[in-house]
């Protein structure tokens, strides 16, 4: 199978993620869309790695996963505390630095 | 290696600043005495510099040189010529008087908590300014000078914005707003000038490959460094703009009346008598020496601006209702004379301009400080609130008159010497400019005498009644200044001997010779 198709898939996933970030208000959904974008990138990296026959892309994919995991930890904590203080998970409600 | 005298002269007030700032909050008086002590010690060091300086010797003396930022060829290079040493001495001389005059200006108000330490800050900042100004008169590295030129804005900003004149009309909030407006205006104006200069400094480095004044001057003299006409002009303009803001030259002057009006009188003296001198000094040292051809190219325009400054400043002084703003506009007029003398490019003009810087420092200090004493007593800066002071406080009125007479350049007082030299120097090169500038002496008499008449003479006004005459501390401030005005007016030779050789160097930098008299009179 032609690896270029994976790239198309990656682009599609990235676009879905990006539009989700822009359109959705729920912080959890936005967050998941960001994850989707990250994973789209991972897919692209791995694909390129396969196409060019060296392992750099795969290594970077691992890094990205680590970053994404760290981000989940911090991001979810922020979202939870935001929800606790504002009783809402909408990103638009959190437009000010202070409560 | 010999003792780094010049570094010490600048370092001493800097150490004093740190020491003063570190004095505990409750020991306010100790901080004042400490600051005074350090300023006097600096004066002693400046005296030693003056004594060690040989008027006929090398151009730059007591030089020090150390590598600083190797990658850019920036060096810590110091040295003084006759012009620098005269201004250094002036600065060191004035600071003790400034400190003494501002003795109570930064006493904390009752309402503030006991941890509030304005007094320490006030005197520390003054010493900090002194350190930077002295070092800037000594710096012979363009980059080092630039840094000091900009850095001295910071303590000045806090001095203007943080310690305003307590005599103001209107509410406290209003006064605070005025003050912060003045401080910000001062800062932004000078920063704008400084940033343009920074561009020119970098440009100079690109062209010359070094920041060292002596190296560039040497390279220019022996022809190994030639600048394209356009480049030289742009660089000159960059430098000149910064200096013209600081000097200040019309039409870049509007920050000065605000700053001097809102600041306490000692700080106003610091601005006009000390810090502003860096601007005119730098024109002589950097503009003329680094860019002689461009200086000559720009001369006509600069002369016109200087003439406008002279007449315009004097006329505006006449129209002022606020004593301190009046003195500020008078200073603008005087800076016009200084710049006129510098760019007339004759020996008399440039020696006169240098002497003018020194004498204007002393005379403005005398006038402004006495005005400050007056304002503190009455609590108002408006001329209309005064009248008949002469009747209740004759010594105050007398010293005020002497300060005023010095400002209008009465013969016998030192400003006359410098003003006449500037006029003669200008007249011999540009007769028309000389004649226009001469009208300045009539206008100066007008604003000084109008001020004196309205404040000091006539029937005693209600708020003036019972005003105390000068106290001992105030007399200690004023009398030495008056004595100096008279001494340098009668016998300015010690000063001219120091300044003349330096001026000859500058004259040869710009390849100019004095115009010869038409008739060689039988001597």
């Amino acid at each position: 199978m032609n690896p270029v198709n994976y790239l198309y898939l990656s682009a599609l996933l990235f676009t879905i993620g990006a539009s989700g970030v822009l359109i959705r208000r729920n912080a959890i959904v936005v967050f998941m869309c960001v994850e989707l974008m990250l994973n789209a990138c991972n897919l692209a990296f791995v694909t390129f790695s396969r196409m060019h026959g060296n392992l750099d892309g795969q290594i970077i994919a691992f890094f990205t996963m680590v970053v994404a995991a760290a981000e989940v930890v911090v991001g979810l904590a922020i979202i939870v505390s935001l929800f606790r203080s504002r009783h809402s998970a909408s990103v638009d409600d959190a437009s000010l630095m202070k409560l | 290696m010999s003792f780094p005298l010049l570094t010490a002269t600048a370092a001493l007030p800097a150490i004093g600043a740190i020491a003063t700032a570190a004095v505990p909050a409750a020991r306010r008086t100790a901080a004042k005495w400490l600051a005074l002590l350090f300023s006097l010690a600096t004066l002693v060091l400046a005296g030693i510099v003056l004594a060690r300086f040989e008027p006929g010797g090398a151009r730059y003396q007591l030089t020090e040189s150390h590598a600083w930022i190797k990658d850019f060829g920036v060096r810590y290079e110091l040295g003084v010529d006759g012009i620098g040493v005269a201004l250094l001495a002036l600065t060191a001389l004035l600071i003790p008087f400034v400190i003494l005059a501002g003795w109570h200006d930064a006493d904390p108000l009752e309402t503030k908590s006991s941890r509030w330490r304005p007094t320490q800050g006030f005197f520390a900042l003054i010493l900090m300014v002194e350190a930077m100004v002295i070092l800037s008169f000594e710096a012979t590295d363009v980059f080092l000078f630039y840094i000091l030129f900009e850095a001295m804005l910071i303590p000045m900003y806090f001095l203007i914005g943080g310690f305003g004149d307590r005599a103001h009309s209107g509410s406290d909030e209003n006064a605070a707003a005025q003050r912060s407006y003045a401080a910000v205006k001062f800062l932004l104006y000078n920063l704008a000038g400084g940033l343009i200069m920074l561009a020119a400094v970098i440009g100079l480095y690109v062209v010359a490959g070094t920041f060292s004044l002596s190296e560039i001057a040497e390279a220019r003299a022996n022809g190994s460094l030639s600048m394209a006409t356009g480049t030289e002009r742009w660089l000159f303009l960059g430098f000149f703009f910064a200096f013209a803001v600081k000097a200040p030259l019309w039409p870049l002057h509007t920050w000065l009346p605000n700053a001097m009006g809102e600041a306490t009188s000692p700080v106003a003296v610091l601005i006009t008598a000390v810090v502003d001198k860096v601007g005119t000094f730098a024109m002589l040292r950097f503009c003329l020496q680094l860019f002689p051809d461009a200086s000559k190219w720009a001369t006509p325009v600069i002369l016109v601006l200087a003439l406008i400054s002279i007449v315009y400043g004097a006329l505006l002084a006449v129209g002022q209702r606020d004593i301190k703003r009046l003195i500020a506009y008078a200073s603008i007029s005087h800076f016009g004379f200084i710049i006129l003398g510098i760019f007339a490019m004759t020996s008399q003009g440039q020696s006169g301009a240098t002497l003018y810087m020194v004498n204007h420092g002393i005379s403005t200090a005398a006038l402004m400080l006495v005005a400050g004493f007056l304002i503190t007593r009455r609590g108002s800066r408006l001329i209309a609130d005064y009248g008949g002071v002469q009747k209740v406080a004759p010594v105050l009125a007398g010293t005020f008159l002497i300060g005023g007479l010095a400002t209008l350049s009465l013969p016998g007082l030192s400003p006359f010497v410098s003003e006449f030299l500037v006029l003669v120097g200008t007249f011999s090169a540009y007769p028309a400019a000389g004649i226009i500038a001469t009208t300045g002496i009539v206008l100066a008499a007008l604003y000084v005498l109008v001020l004196y008449q309205r404040t000091m003479t006539g029937p005693v006004k209600a708020g003036v009644q019972g005003m105390a005459d000068l106290k001992v501390r105030e007399l200690v401030v004023v009398l030495p200044l008056v004595a100096l005005l008279i001494f340098l007016g009668v016998y300015p030779k010690p000063l001219t001997e120091i300044v003349n050789p330096a001026v000859q160097h500058t004259m040869s930098d710009v390849h100019k010779k004095d115009p010869q008299p038409e008739v060689e009179a039988a001597k």
Binding site: - | T254, L316, G352, S428, V442, Y452, T457, G458, P517, V519
Partner: protein, 631 residues
């Protein structure tokens, strides 16, 4: 002997320093210190004079070099003195009259609590005036020149609590500054032309430069002289200067300072001799002022202002004589000296009258005072006779010579000048007779003041009358003493030079004509003020009288054009500075502020809008990169 010259200045300068810095502990005897030091200066002057008389006419000039004052390359100003016959004449006049007036002031200022300071200022004046006449270069002369201006300022405004005095002082200084501007330009011109401004070299090399240059220098010197000597068009300050205490008016504004302009022109004779155009202007200024001052003097009811007009007019004579060139120099100085005597005496007399009349100055409220103040009457009367040129008295000799010299100018000019000087003599006789009649003759016209105090006029104390008597002696005999055997001419000729013009009319004719106009002037005055009672309130008078009372409207002109115009100018400039110059600055600041206000709106806190800008930015960057690669 040369080294004594500095003492002339040093003595009064010391007095000024001690008196002004000494504080209240000197109040009790400060006036004696001042008077003694003035007298000391006179003694030094007399010693030097005696020494000078012992030498031949050519070796009389003394010279003393003190130190180098302002040395900058070609510009070499020294503090050095020169005492020749011309300076000597002035030194004796200044210190002599000065000492007398110091003595007079002891009595006159007795009740003033600031008497010590008054004497300090007087001493300061003497020092500056002496410096002016013994300086050996124009720059040092300039120092004295402004110094006397300062002393004059301080003394006119001595009673500073009176706003009118403070204003008059300021006006005097300002008008003088305009003249000083002329002097500084003249010095600058000398420097660029001759490379020096010392009297010797400058005056010796006038032949080596163009007449145009010399004319310019001469006109600038004349401007200076006009300011100091109250000549048209800078005469307006002198009348107001009478606000000062009367001894000041006598010393500064009659006998010495106001004659400095004459000194300057005579001293610079070599320049004027080589610049006939400048000379012509000098003569015109002198002639115009001569008539101007006389006309103003006729209309004033204030005794001091009438005398001030007279001073102006008499100095006009001197300036006119000085403008005639070598024919007139000696006579200008001679008239200056005799005028110093009789005008100082007249002012002191006026002061004595005021002293006795509770400081009343309106002559219409005097009358018949000869019975109450006999000494004042006699000394004033002798001064009066001297000034109108009564035969045998001082003024007769000196004024007659000037009229002769004016005719001797030759041609139409000579006739015009002669006529002007004769007319002036007639008017002088008229207004002085008027002063005399109004003050000392007729019925008493004073009334009790508002509180019912009668002025009860009385004779002044001895300290005041003695100087008046001495000056009266001078007024009577000085002219004759100078003229007999041409003593004064022979004395000054080595310095100023002298030439006899060929007069179209003989000396006897001139004298006769002078007598005729004198009688006419006196007769008219008698007819107007001597025959009948004089109204206490001045009648409205003719158009000319009313104009003359207001100094021929010159002050009104100044007020409208200079004062008002200046006020408008400064006010509009303050506006321009605030709105235009500062407006540009504040406008720039406001624009920046507005711009950043707009930009701030982008930072709205919505994460999604930041995300849009990120995506948009990325898209733009990628597009740009692709585009660049495609190209």
């Amino acid at each position: 002997m040369d080294n004594l010259i500095a003492l002339l200045v040093a003595a009064p300068l010391l007095g000024a320093a001690v008196l002004l810095c000494g504080g209240r502990r000197l109040d009790r005897f400060g006036h004696w210190i001042g008077t003694l030091l003035a007298a000391a200066s006179f003694v030094v002057g007399a010693v030097l004079f005696a020494d000078m008389l012992g030498k031949g006419a050519d070796q009389r000039a003394l010279h003393q070099y003190l130190f180098s004052w302002i040395p900058v390359e070609g510009f070499q100003a020294d503090v050095a003195f020169q005492l020749d016959q011309l300076s000597m004449t002035f030194v004796l006049l200044i210190t002599g009259v000065g000492t007398l007036i110091h003595i007079y002031s002891i009595g006159y200022m007795e009740h003033d609590e600031r008497r010590r300071r008054f004497f300090g200022y007087l001493n300061l004046f003497l020092a500056a005036m002496l410096l002016l006449v013994i300086a050996d270069n124009y720059l040092l002369l300039y120092v004295g020149w402004e110094g006397v201006g300062l002393a004059s300022y301080l003394l006119i405004g001595f009673w500073q609590h009176k706003p009118s005095a403070a204003t008059a002082a300021k006006k005097a200084f300002l008008v003088n500054r305009v003249g000083d501007m002329g002097l500084s330009i003249a010095i600058m011109l000398m420097f660029t032309t001759f490379g020096t401004f010392a009297f010797g070299p400058v005056l010796a090399s006038t032949g080596e430069t163009s007449e145009g240059k010399l004319t310019a220098i001469g006109l600038m010197l004349l401007l200076a002289a006009c300011g100091k000597s109250a000549q048209v068009p800078l005469q307006s300050w002198l009348g107001d200067a009478m606000e000062g205490p009367t001894p000041v008016s006598a010393l500064i504004h009659a006998a010495t300072m106001v004659t400095a302009g004459v000194y300057l022109i005579v001293r610079s004779g070599a320049i004027f001799n080589a610049a006939p155009d400048a000379q012509l202007v000098v003569v015109v200024v002198g002639g115009v002022t001569l008539l101007f001052g006389a006309i103003v003097g006729c209309a004033k009811d204030d005794i001091k202002k009438a005398l001030a007009g007279s001073t102006m007019s008499q100095i006009g004579y001197m300036i006119l004589a000085a403008g005639l060139g070598p024919i007139g120099y000696v006579f200008a100085i001679m008239h200056l000296v005799t005028h110093g005597f009789f005008k100082a005496g007249l002012f002191l007399g006026a002061g004595s009258v005021m002293h006795g009349m509770n400081d009343e100055v309106d002559m219409r409220k005097f009358g018949g005072l000869r019975r109450y103040m006999p000494v004042t009457f006699i000394t004033f009367g002798l001064g009066y006779l001297a000034i109108i040129g009564f035969p045998g008295l001082s003024g007769f000799f000196s004024k007659d010579k000037i009229i002769e010299a004016a005719f001797a100018k030759g041609g139409t000019e000579g006739w015009i000048l002669g006529a002007v000087t004769l007319l002036g003599a007639a008017i002088t006789a008229f207004y002085m007779t008027r002063v005399m009649l109004l003050t000392f003759f007729g019925e008493k016209r004073w009334q009790p003041d508002a509180e019912g105090h009668d002025p009860h006029p009385h004779e002044s104390p001895k300290s005041m009358t003695i100087p008046m008597i001495v000056l009266a002696f001078g007024s009577v005999f000085a002219g004759g003493f100078f003229s007999i055997g041409d003593r004064f001419l022979n004395w000054l000729e080595p310095v100023t030079g002298h030439s006899h013009g060929d007069s179209p009319v003989s000396a006897t004719t001139v004298t006769a004509a002078t007598m005729v106009v004198l009688v006419i002037g006196v007769a008219i005055a008698w007819a107007m003020y001597g025959r009948g009672p004089v109204p206490v309130v001045a009648p409205r008078g003719s158009l000319l009288t009313r104009a003359a009372r207001r100094d021929l409207l010159q002050d009104d002109f100044n007020h409208v054009v200079l004062v008002r115009g200046g006020e408008h100018l400064t006010r509009s400039l303050v506006y321009v500075d605030h709105t235009l110059v500062d407006g540009v600055v504040n406008g720039t600041a406001a624009t920046m502020g507005g711009l950043s206000g707009r930009l701030r709106k982008l930072q709205n806190g919505y994460a999604r809008s930041y995300a849009v800008s990120m995506f948009g930015g990325t898209a733009v960057v990628i597009a740009a990169t692709l585009l660049m690669r495609a190209v």
